[in-house]
């Protein structure tokens, strides 16, 4: 097993802190339209270092911070943490358990942590560079990719091949 837990607070529709514990095998996420399922997927993408706001359906980084609702005020910060086992030595670090965190504030400031030690965004990204897990690779498949992977311009396919090479 690899993923242990996901903690989300203030990211998109998650006003309140939620925690997702992962078991082995298949974890299914279900719920009505607009309830927050894809937001959970995007939280994982974001904490792995996604830099392209278009892949998070947003314009600016501020779009991922809880913006309030009819009855709730906006929050000032979004934070996502992903805790993983490193039992197969998949990740190039000596820890057996790794927690990565990413935070962003309304003033545009961002913070990044690996096992609570501050680091840079690129350290988060580099952690996953060669494992196929980087936030662009084939480890995240959503409806739009079906058209992309079959489209006439084979650029998308080539990119996936190179990630797998």
């Amino acid at each position: 097993m690899f993923l242990k837990r996901l903690d989300i607070q203030g990211f998109k529709s998650f006003l309140q802190r939620i925690r997702v514990d992962f078991g082995p095998g298949i974890t299914s996420v279900v719920g009505p339209n607009g309830s927050g399922k894809t937001n959970i997927v995007e939280a994982i993408r974001w904490v792995l270092g996604e830099q392209n706001m278009r892949h998070l359906r947003g314009d600016t980084l501020e779009d991922v911070i809880f913006t309030g609702s009819a009855q709730r005020k906006p929050l000032g910060m979004a934070e996502v943490s992903l805790t993983m086992f490193n039992n197969r030595g998949v990740l190039p670090v000596e820890y057996t358990e790794i927690a990565i965190s990413r935070r962003t504030f309304r003033n545009g400031q961002s913070e990044y942590f690996i096992n609570r030690k501050p680091c840079r965004l690129r350290d988060l990204r580099d952690l996953f560079l060669d494992t196929g897990m980087g936030s662009h690779a084939y480890s995240l498949i959503e409806r739009g990719m079906v058209d992309n992977v079959l489209s006439d311009e084979s650029g998308h396919r080539r990119f996936l091949f190179e990630e797998a090479a």
């Binding site: 996420v29 719920g31 997927v41 084939y138 990719m145 797998a164 090479a165």
Partner: protein, 164 residues
Amino acid sequence: ASELFQKTFREVNENFQKVFRTLFEGGEAALTLSGDDPLEAEIEILARPRGKKPQSLSLLSGGEKALTAIALLFAIYLVKPSPFCILDEVDAPLDDANIDRFVLLLREFSQNTQFIVVTHNKKTMEVADCLYGVTMEEPGVSKLVSVRWNTEPPPESEPQEEQE
């Protein structure tokens, strides 16, 4: 780099043919490289469901296209399986029979890979080892509810009913 690409290409092609035949219960599929320079060549897809004549990909149905794309994405994944894989509603265009085959493949791959599957489909939900519900009782505010574990909950965490 060209050699590595060609090796990867052959492997993906082999996987693609196998996975396609599993999901389509027959038929055939292949990838081809057009052009002389492998690093610049277009990667083209051929796909022929069982009993049908080979035709251009565009003439396939919505569900057949989705299943072909899934076969290709899994073929690439098999070359270098990622420790986890997230699927967001990829089963939406599939009919019942195709969902059954798709879900069988998921279970097989899930022995080596953690899958997070977002879905509206009841058949897909049924093979989950663990199920999370997301709701918005209060408009604009997401809540995680009713976790069900088919297997032992993972160590160091208790099953949660509703989170505050």
